[in-house]
Subunit: 135 residues, 6 copies
């Protein structure tokens, strides 16, 4: 159970309702998920977080479904159950197939393994990879 | 400096050289990066890790550059400097632009933030997201 | 369910009961929370952990409620549900308001985001910050 | 070395310079630290991150030095060297003494230890701590 | 609930059944635990992961119960509840006593604490420990 | 460079010197590594941490080299370079061979991978593994 009281639409201030309205309009849904009702404990936190998510997750140089899969990859690595479930659902809604989910997990698993090996054996960075290979 | 001696091609066993040859052929390069030279401390670990990476990172339902960006997302979340640099380089080689890198980082940053908020406030999973939204 | 049997007061050894008594006396409560009943699987682990917590969490140069909030910040970042709930409760008992909890979460979320950006883009340390700015 | 080119003030766009100016004015300094020069790879990311940091780190229900210490606690748990150094410096500038730093580290160390014990032994949440003790 | 449908033996392809058979034969059990039924969403992921686990967890220079305890140590640090429970069970089956479990947790807790202190205070590596003390 | 001044033996208080003496006597060495010189910023933190490490790392139901390897496993997962190097050196001194180090890394890598898969696909705990398989 959340450590703060969730703010339902009906009881929300005009400021919070405005954010809720924008969330529903942007996503084309008629309900607000628990994350936002909890973050609404502080209207400024709600507004800033939503504006950030809206801006960042919109398709740009990277498409929307890829952004959702990247979000899942981070959430898995952090072990955030809420985020894994909600963003897996989000990715599916935007077109991720079960085959893509399986490949995503395979990459995330492999990355976690090789991260451990590189850290564990203290591998030194190759000259060619310095600065992420920018020339 | 690595905690084990790196195995150079010239001094490697035939088993290790065969893996090195496959790495270079698959990637179209004529050198072996330090990660493999270190993992070669155990030939079985080298072979298994390389075969896994080769299989997992090949384009499939998800394309190759997206897979590299997912790899970077995990590596950033784990704070693995070697992996961040080597896979940022890998993603660039496969077509990631600076604009894509910036969007990748924006998503990874946002995911790490909202993971903390969801965990920190102990948000309960919405029914609609249960099982990652599979119907 | 805990992976070891919890030790209840009545069945505890004198050594364990002495620690339980000190926990209750120090905190002004008449019950022992599950964490200690589980850690009591090894009396030395119970004693050492309790003495450490007692010493570390006592007000000093940093006051008690701030220490609890720092504890929550770490627990959120590690995703430890038991610790998030128990130390959020502890912080509240020592005076943390809902407004403070919201600000705490905002800072923790922001820190997790900028940690990812600094790692992800491999930012080099500024001279002025070296050694944490000690002169 | 950063994986993207740092944007110096002189070469920055008007939009980026405006953020840089606000950072310097807000902090009362005449230079920009590397974090912002790197994040400026995407002006929207720079602006959004700075506005978030500025809003979140301003004193409110929690004072400024406590916020910096909470930031350090998260950065230590994530192992972000840049962030540990820069926010330790920031906390010092705002009044953290060496004694406070030592107590901060003691709490962060203890929290990381007990997080591991609670997770490792799968301690069940006590009724009294449910929902972080909110009544 | 898993984000993908679990593959039961009866409905599995011949390729998946062959892996399931090998898991049961290797472990001397007559059932398949949920992890494998979920990973079977992609037969190649199932096969590769099982072959890796089988190879890595077999006794070698390190005995089988120690390997299970190391697995638990990592799982605790990552906060993976499934893995903590399943590998604690695995370690017990291979001979870990409650006393050993308690000592394992004590070491894992202490390591997480001192990791935080070393990172948090940015301790510089001693010459004698460079390259993990290899001469 | 450490964020606090390291305390050298000559300038240390009698209380700190006593701990340093016990560290050197217990380990049979004639020098103090940087970790302790940094933690000595707070004598109580030094004493408590050393007494904990001494107690926890002494051979008991688990032998000393296994404890060092478990310590390395945690440090790798947390990405603590100081700890990886110092405890790899410690494990080697107590008898860990290069073959054992390679197997340790293989287990740590595999555990990090399967942790990600179990979290990522939200695998439900099997009845048989509940409470870590204790009967």
């Amino acid at each position: 159970m959340a450590t703060v009281k969730m703010i339902e639409y009906e009881e929300a201030s005009a400021e919070v309702q405005a954010v809720y309205d924008d969330i529903m309009a942007t996503r084309g849904v008629d309900w607000i998920n628990n994350f936002w009702k909890v973050v609404a404990v502080q209207p400024a936190l709600l507004r800033r977080t939503w504006e950030g998510v809206k801006e960042v997750m919109a398709p740009g140089a990277i498409d929307a479904v890829t952004k959702e899969m990247i979000f899942v990859a981070v959430s898995v690595t952090n072990g955030c159950d809420y985020c894994i479930n909600s963003h897996t659902a989000g990715a599916r809604k935007k077109g991720m197939s079960d085959e893509m989910l399986a490949e995503l997990m395979a990459v995330v698993g492999m990355a976690n393994q090789t991260n451990a090996l590189a850290n564990g054996l203290q591998v030194e960075l190759d000259e060619a990879f310095r600065a992420g290979g920018r020339s």
